[in-house]
């Protein structure tokens, strides 16, 4: 403390000359502090509520709650393995599909797009991000699913040689629903979200950095790959992880198109379920304690998964900054 004061004696001197408004600083600080604590308290409240509500399920089912895929409301036996696998599988596939496209869209908008088109395309991307998920779900069920069934599922199922691994991978009901279809809808949903964030990030690259790279004779590809992308790396990881977080928790759109069966999905066209879709489907009509508690326990698991994903993002961002 004394050290800093000594190092910059100028800070101490103008105390008397402090502007009048400075007396509001403590109030401002207190407001900001209470906002931050309120958020933490809400977060803690959610965890505690879910843990208390879900405790009977963990207690009754033990480790079986995570490893078993039996989900039977009649006998009150619940295992979350099916929804758990479905959640991770659909989110991972969705990220794999949308990541390259999101980067493509963002880089095009910032680096290659004619200035006239930049604003309309940018606005369109943001509008896509604002469409409610239920609309994506309905569109997925009534428009996308029949198209997907006729032009992707059927051809693939017909082309698969009998007895091959490929045949196993693509067996299912050719009506356009299932794990893969849900992942594609999810990818479409998180794509504009990630693209818009990546674009904003790329726009923060100072023009001098880019210009000096061009001045050294770099091509556009070289500028993007060696200058602008590394410049925004930590932010980009954050954007991607937020997209993944959204994919993990997305509910209505998935519920419409995933096929909603609780077992392990046996192929990419098989119907499955996610944690969020299971909760959305069954919470309103769950009457037994075990059923309600199992759904709350599912919520807690989703919370933990999302938390782990965001924690991982922090770790990656921290590492990339060193």
């Amino acid at each position: 403390m004394t050290l800093t004061a000594d190092a910059s004696p100028g800070l101490k001197a103008p105390r008397a000359a402090r502007p009048k408004g400075a007396s509001f600083d403590p109030i401002f600080q207190a407001l900001c502090f209470s906002a931050a604590t309120a958020l933490l308290a809400a977060l803690g409240g959610v965890i505690v509520t879910l843990a208390i509500g879900g405790w009977p399920a963990f207690q009754a089912m033990g480790l079986g709650f995570i490893t078993s895929s039996e989900w039977n409301p009649v006998t009150d036996v619940y295992g979350a393995a099916g929804p758990l696998v479905g959640t991770i599988l659909t989110a991972a596939l969705a990220l794999a599909f949308s990541l390259p496209v999101a980067f493509g869209v963002a880089i095009f908008l910032v680096e290659f797009c004619p200035t006239v088109l930049r604003r309309p395309i940018g606005t369109a991307v943001e509008l896509l991000a604002g469409i409610p998920s239920i609309v994506y779900g309905m569109w997925g069920l009534f428009v996308f699913a029949p198209f997907f069934a006729n032009h992707v599922q059927m051809p693939l199922m017909m082309a698969a040689p009998p007895g091959s691994l490929m045949e196993k991978l693509v067996t299912g009901i050719p009506n356009g629903t299932g794990i893969l279809a849900a992942a594609i809808i999810l990818a479409i949903m998180i794509l504009p979200f990630m693209a818009a964030m990546l674009r904003e990030l790329l726009l923060t690259v100072p023009p001098q950095v880019r210009e000096s790279a061009y001045g050294l004779g770099a091509t556009r590809l070289e500028v993007v790959s060696s200058v602008t992308l590394p410049y925004v790396r930590s932010g980009a990881i954050g954007a991607v992880m937020l997209g993944l977080g959204r994919a993990l928790g997305e509910t209505m759109a998935v519920t419409f198109i995933i096929g909603n069966s609780h077992g392990f999905p046996a192929s990419i066209f098989d119907s499955g379920s996610t944690i969020a879709s299971t909760i959305a489907n069954e919470f309103t009509e769950a009457t037994s304690v075990a059923h309600t508690s199992s759904l709350l326990a599912l919520g807690l698991m989703l919370f933990v998964i999302t938390f782990a994903v965001l924690g991982l993002a922090r770790l990656l961002i921290g590492r990339s900054q060193h």
Binding site: T255, N260, S261, S271, E282, T284
Partner: protein, 348 residues
Amino acid sequence: MLKRIFIAVVCAGAMTALGATAAKADISGAGATFPAPVYAKWAEAYKRQTGVGLNYQAIGSGGGIRQITAKTVAFGASDKPLNPDDLASSGLIQFPTVIGGVVPVLNIPGVAPGQLRLTGPLLADIFRGQIKRWNDPAIVRLNPGVKLPPIPITVVHRADGSGTTFLFTTYLSQKAPRWAEQVGANDSVQWPTGLGGKGNDGVSAFVKQTTGSIGYVEYAFAKQNKLTHAQMQNRAGKFVQPTADAFSAAAANAKWSSAPGYYLLLLDQPGANSWPITGATFILMHKNQTNAEQGREVLKFFDWAFKSGDNLASSLDYVAMPAAIKTQIRKTWSSQIKSGGKSVLVAN
């Protein structure tokens, strides 16, 4: 807008000043989604006549039971009746309001609406995944003259918990011991096979999109969406089409008088014309009303609905309760719903 608020404030003020019986409050209710359209229609007409509105939240039967137990609403609604023990332990009574039916719908090329005949045990075998193709001998034997292609059967069921599923699985449990043993009956069950659609919309979309599929939906929904339905064999051994008359027949033939707390499922009722998968939807109220005024308003609303709501109900493809049962329900109201030991209705 401001003017209207001003008038409302003045009116409210005048009423309090006159010591009038308070402003007419809206009735609050929550529960089953299946009767929500008819309750909305009734509420609209009732408000026009009496000025009393109904605030009904269609949150599902389970939610309705939870909310009425917690006393956050004046009445709860459920497609699944509570058994007499549960009613007694939470101090509730229940009564049926309208009747609907569950109808198997299918998508088989070349099979016309109402052409395919099914029996309860056969339906159970199909939904168990036991019968895998439409040209299975068991189906063919029942349907001479119907051309059944050798395409695989895809089962479509509700993904969300629902009273429809409860009726359907209870019926299958009654007709097929293997179903009762392997799957059982509930709002949602562990389906042996097939895929789940969200709501009646989801099921019917999947059935329309999937060649060779079979699902089940509410009758009103099947009719309005012109889905291909099946005939069912009833207890009398007759094959019947799902119609309003067939649901009425099932309700009329049921023995309501000997069902304590109206705990009665209209499944597999006797009578040559009865549709076998019929069900009523129920209203739940507390026996002991802490707020007599509120309880009276609820009963007045349903009394009005029983008197003048039948046409509105049938315009939406619901079936009204038979007159004899309505009379019985009114008796239940005056004898059982009390506030401070006095009947809520008599005090009117």
